[in-house]
Symmetry: C2
Subunit: 349 residues, 2 copies
């Protein structure tokens, strides 16, 4: 079964495959289980495998990442008098692991937790890097902590219950990791399905890219910024659509734009493979947009980093640059981007 | 001016004296100031000295340590778009620094902060050890993080506005540090007042004890448990009185009980100096209590540590033991404790 050993800052395994529950080492202290009601069946399996008396089901999605739900989970733990050596088990997608990880980071000033990601996005993205957190009314992920799980156990069987689009969406991040690391195998998403025998291996390969990058730059000071490839425009599209656009779709659109920037700067033409990604993904269409409409959402990112807006630009497979860009070039690429979208029949109306 | 350099886990200075604001190094990023409305005047001085545009005044006390106030402060920071290199300045007593420290630990997954403690308790206790956190409806300090300030600046001038009892109360912890470290100078609280020229030196000496212990045991696995001297009974008294009894008073009562346990185990007789402490402190009187009434509150502590109740017992100055004790001995000491209280005219009715 594919297994990746994360080394820094704290060592833990990421196990991906069929029947991962057999791989979970038993803890001496008590367990408490937090799960997304959407995957109640798998949560039940986890609870039975580990003998968990305390279980709390929540509605997944961004609605789970609020201070209100956070307080509810904390009180649930406290009412049961659960001590510092309790292991919190978190079963669900990225929103549940973000919430559960933050609860574990802060309940009694920190308890251990294990993550059981049940979406492709959570496997590829949320299981590495130690980011946990919540949203505020003012914006996403504005509160949180770095807190690493003691282990991540991704059951491929649980991915079979995912809606087809959600399954594909998560693999956009894996594709992105392929661009960053120059790993062509990760660009071949087309054949993948929840039943495909190479799925676990593919996911492990994508995870390994993120592990390597975050180990080199745990606190997002340098190389880790490469992981933002496609995310600058992606986040702006998400904000502009008030998060009606799914994250994976926004990133895929952002990758197309990044590829256009790369080509404009004399880089390799990566458009063919990204067009392939978009056609396979079949994301929701976008409304026609003016550059000026999107600009305020782009600059919001800038304000947060307190410096001029930097773009992650792919100049070829595994060859990326992080740099500010002149607005004229950004606008030109934006016009080409809209033309591409029209050609791919991804523009509304 | 007395200055203690904390070394681990992150280095920072604790500066205590008159005119500490001159000692604060300037940050490159923006400042935001969180302060207790009770010390508005001193907060104003801090804001002017550092040129702080963003200020939020709160009502201090345990009411500040709620998820609700926490969310309010986070939103206040987010609405101003304050970036990751913002330094949060926290001016107030221990409840404000606990809250502000936790905000700093988690806003944008962690920003730097400086503490300006304005009570003797906050200087001696809250400025060392990195504990930050909030209360839940289920109990005190059940949520939080370890997050160390970049510096602690204790202005002795600000202590002059404290109510006299609050001033004395904080020094109970300093006295406790004297017992733990065997530093007799710390037992001489009687002459101290906000105006006394040796106050800054006395506070620095008490702080140094806690610094030495927490550096040796940052995560409270071993030696740091000595700091709980007087707190086992103290916490139970606080809980039993629904926190009507001030913390310093509860700890002073707890020290008396601990001294009786020490004497019963053949230790040195520390009662004379603790009687002196209580007479000087003039704490609120206690109602007569039965051992059986207090027991559930003592056992609550036990549940949290998931092991049998341990007592910190002083067998002499600087000579302590941490151990479980038979109930017969605990009950006997409890009876003697009530007799002592009656003799000191600290029992109601």
């Amino acid at each position: 079964m594919p297994r990746i050993e994360v080394g820094k800052p704290t060592p833990y395994p990421i196990v991906i495959g069929e029947g991962v529950l057999k791989e979970v080492p038993r803890s001496q202290g008590p367990y408490a289980l937090l799960y997304d009601q959407n995957v109640e069946g798998f949560a039940q399996e986890v609870a039975e495998a580990l003998g968990v008396p305390h279980r709390l089901g929540l509605k997944g999605g961004e609605g789970a990442k609020t201070l209100e739900v956070y307080g509810k989970v904390l009180s649930w733990l406290a009412q049961r008098g659960l001590p510092r050596n309790t292991t919190l088990l978190v079963v669900g997608g990225g929103t549940l692991t973000d919430l559960g990880g933050f609860v574990a980071a802060t309940y009694l000033r920190g308890i251990p937790y294990l993550a059981f990601p049940t979406t492709t996005l959570a496997v590829v993205d949320a299981s590495v890097g130690g980011k946990t957190g919540l949203n505020l009314p003012e914006g996403k992920n504005l509160v949180g902590a770095f807190h690493f799980p003691r282990g991540v156990y991704a059951e491929v069987g649980a991915l079979r219950t995912l809606p087809a689009f959600t399954f594909r969406e998560g693999l956009v991040e894996a594709f992105k990791h392929g661009l960053i690391a120059g790993d062509e195998a990760l660009l071949e998403v087309e054949g993948l399905s929840p039943e495909h025998p190479s799925l676990a291996g593919y996911l492990a390969r994508a995870v390994a890219v993120k592990v390597a990058i975050t180990e080199e730059d745990p606190l997002e000071r340098g190389k880790r910024r490469l992981l933002n490839l496609g995310h600058t425009l992606g986040h702006a599209l998400e904000a502009k659509t008030r998060h009606a656009l799914p994250h994976g779709a926004a990133v895929a659109y952002g990758l197309l734009y990044a590829a256009l920037l790369g080509r404009a700067l004399g880089g390799e033409d990566l458009l063919p493979s990204i067009r392939g990604l978009l056609l396979w993904l079949a994301p929701p269409k976008l409304p026609p947009l003016f550059w000026e409409e999107l600009l305020p959402y782009l600059l919001r990112d800038k304000k947060k980093v307190s410096e001029s807006l930097h773009w992650v630009v792919p100049l070829g497979l595994g060859r990326l640059e992080v740099r500010p860009l002149p607005e004229a070039l950004l606008k030109e690429a934006f016009a080409l981007w809209q033309e591409e979208l029209a050609r791919l029949a991804l523009l509304e109306g």
